[in-house]
Symmetry: C2
Subunit: 326 residues, 2 copies
C-alpha cells in the first residue's frame, strides 16, 4: 500500500502507526451492517496516514509516547478521512487511491453522511480524552479547513486569483491540519507554548509544500501511479499555482483561451487540452520551487526538536513531500 521509501522513513514509529491504524478501525467499526460495509470500504483504501504519523513522530521526538498519542493520531486521521470523503463528493471524483470512491460506489448522499458520521465519531472520541486540548484544537482546525474549502470553491474560475490568495487558501484547507497534528504531538508530550507553536510552524510549512505538489500532480501526474482521479482541478475550475503562474505570463487573447478551456461546453478532457495548448512546465517548476522554499522553512523549525531518529524522520518527510510521485 505504502511506498518503500516512505515506509523506511517512518520506521521510528512503525509499531505506533500500526497501533493507530488498529485504533482507527476498531473505533469506526459500528454495530450496524450498513456502516460496517461502508467503513470496511474506507479502510481498504487507507492512504499514507501522514497526519497521524506526524503526531506520533513529533510526540516521540520528545521521549516515550504518552497514552493518548495514539488515540489523538487516529482522531486526526479520522478528521482527514472525513474531509477526503466529502472532497470526493465535491470533486465528483470516481477514483481514490486506486479504488472506487465512496460516492462513486454508494452515491453522494451516503458519502455526505459517512463523512458527517466520521467527523462526529472523531469529535466524540476527542471529548473522551483527559484534556480538552485536542478537541478544541481539532474543532477549530476543522472549521478552518472547511472555511478554506468553501473559499476555494467560491474562487473557482477566478482567473485573477493571486499567488498570495492561493497560498492563503491552501494554508487553510491543508496546512492547518498538518500544523495541528504536529502541535498536538508536542502538547501531548507535555511541551509548552513556544515549542508547540514552532512544531505547528513545521507542520504548516510541510503541509503547504505537500499541497503545492499535490496540485502539480493533478496537472501532470500519472493516474495509475497517483491512484486517484487527476485533472479534476481544471475540470472543476480550480486555479492552482502552476496555472496562476501560467496566466501571469499570457497575452489577453491567450488568457481568454485558458478561460475557454476551463469553461466552454464540449471539451472532454480540459486538463489534457490545457497541457496540449500551453506549456505548463515553467508554471510547475515555479510551483515546485515554492514548495521547496516551504520545505526548507519547515526544516528550520525542526531545530527546536531534540536530535534523534524521529527528528531525522520528520526532516526526511519534509524532503519526501517534494519528490513524491503519488
Amino acid at each position: 500500500m505504502m511506498e518503500p521509501l516512505l515506509q523506511e522513513l517512518l520506521s521510528p514509529v512503525r509499531d505506533e502507526v500500526e497501533e493507530m491504524s488498529r485504533f482507527f478501525e476498531r473505533e469506526l467499526a459500528a454495530p450496524s451492517a450498513v456502516l460496517r460495509e461502508l467503513v470496511g470500504h474506507l479502510s481498504r483504501y487507507k492512504g499514507k496516514r501522514l497526519r497521524g504519523t506526524e503526531v506520533l513522530l513529533v510526540g516521540k521526538a520528545f521521549g516515550p509516547l504518552g497514552p493518548e498519542h495514539v488515540p489523538v493520531a487516529a482522531i486526526v486521521e479520522m478528521i482527514h478521512t472525513a474531509t477526503l470523503v466529502h472532497d470526493d463528493v465535491l470533486d465528483v471524483a470516481s477514483l481514490r487511491r486506486g479504488l472506487a470512491s465512496v460516492n462513486a460506489r454508494y452515491g453522494n448522499p451516503t458519502a455526505v453522511l459517512l463523512g458527517d458520521y466520521i467527523y462526529a465519531k472523531a469529535f466524540h472520541l476527542s471529548t473522551g480524552l483527559r484534556s480538552q486540548v485536542a478537541s478544541r484544537l481539532l474543532a477549530e482546525t476543522t472549521r478552518t479547513v472547511c472555511r478554506g474549502e468553501i473559499e476555494q470553491t467560491a474562487a473557482r474560475y477566478d482567473f485573477d486569483l493571486t499567488e498570495a490568495r492561493y497560498l492563503e487558501l491552501i494554508d487553510m484547507k491543508t496546512a492547518s491540519l498538518h500544523g495541528a497534528a504536529c502541535e498536538l504531538g508536542a502538547r501531548y508530550a507535555g511541551e509548552g507554548e513556544e515549542t508547540a507553536l514552532a512544531v505547528r510552524g513545521f507542520g504548516r510549512d510541510l503541509g503547504r509544500a505537500f499541497q503545492i505538489v499535490d496540485d502539480c500532480l493533478d496537472l501532470e501526474g500519472d493516474e495509475r501511479i497517483v491512484g486517484k482521479s487527476l485533472g479534476t482541478d481544471v475540470s472543476e475550475g480550480k486555479i492552482t499555482l502552476p496555472v496562476v503562474h501560467l496566466l501571469a505570463g499570457l497575452s489577453p487573447r491567450e488568457r481568454l483561451r485558458v478561460r475557454e478551456i476551463y469553461l466552454a461546453e464540449g471539451i472532454a478532457d480540459r486538463a489534457a487540452t490545457l497541457a496540449a495548448e500551453f506549456d505548463l512546465r515553467p508554471g510547475i517548476e515555479y510551483a515546485i520551487q515554492c514548495a521547496d522554499g516551504s520545505s526548507r522553512k519547515a526544516l528550520e523549525s525542526l531545530e527546536r526538536l531534540p536530535a534523534g531518529p524521529c527528528r531525522d524522520a520528520l526532516a526526511s518527510l519534509a524532503e519526501y513531500v517534494l519528490c513524491r510521485r503519488s
Copy 2:
C-alpha cells in the same frame, strides 16, 4: 416567521430565545465575505428553533437559567442547522422554509462544506464550555443522527420495511437530538442522572411524534404552508409510516404498482401519482395515532418537572407537534 400559536406557547422563554438567536448569528458571522453571505442566507430562513427552545424551557423549568444555557441552546441549533443543510443536498430539495435552499442557490459543494463548517463551529464552541457534558453528548448524538440518516438512505426502496424499523430509524435521525436538547437543559440546571434521563425521554418521544407528523406533511401537506419541497420522500424512495401501513394492506399486485410508482422512469410527480391511485388517508390517520401515542408518553415524563409556565409550555409543545400544519 413563526406561527402565532407557537410564539404564544414559547412565551416563558421569549427573551432567552432572542438571546439564543443573537448568539447563533454572532458566532457564525465569520471574518470572510463568502461565509458572511452564506451564513446571511441561512439566518434569513431560520425556522422554529424548537430544539434550542427545548434546552431553554427545560432549563428554566428548574429555576433561573445558568450562564451556559443560551450557548448550549445555540450550539444545539447549529448542529440541527448543519444537518438541515446536508439534508437538502441529500433530498435534492430546492425549497427550505419558503426560500431557496443553500444547495439550490450555491450548488452542492458549497452546501456540503457549509454544513461541515457549521458542525465544526458548533463543536468548537462546545469545547469552550466549562464542562465537557455538552460536547460529549452532542458529538455522540450527532453520530447517532448521521447513523440514522445513513441507515435510512440504505433502506430506501425497501418495500418490506417494518413499522419497528421505521421507528428505529426516526429515533436515531430525529428523536435523539430532541432528547439530547432536553437532557442538556436539565444537566446545565444541575439536575442529576435520573431527572436528566426522564427529560431525555420526554424529548425523544416528542421528537418521534414530530418526525411522524413531518413525514405525513411530506405526503399530504401544502408546500405554500409548509414552506419546503414536499413529496420528496416518495421521489427519493423513503418509505414512511403511512406508506408502511398502506403496503401492509395491499394485494401483491397493488404492491407491485406502488413499487412502480416509486421507481419507474417517466413519472413526474410520484407523490401525486401515489395519492391519486391509492387512498393514503388510513395510513396517515394510523401514523397520526402513533404520533399521538408518542406525544402522550412525552407528557407523562413531564411529571418529573416542577409545575409552572415552562412545564406548561413543554406540555403544549407536545400537543402542538400533533396539530401543526407546517
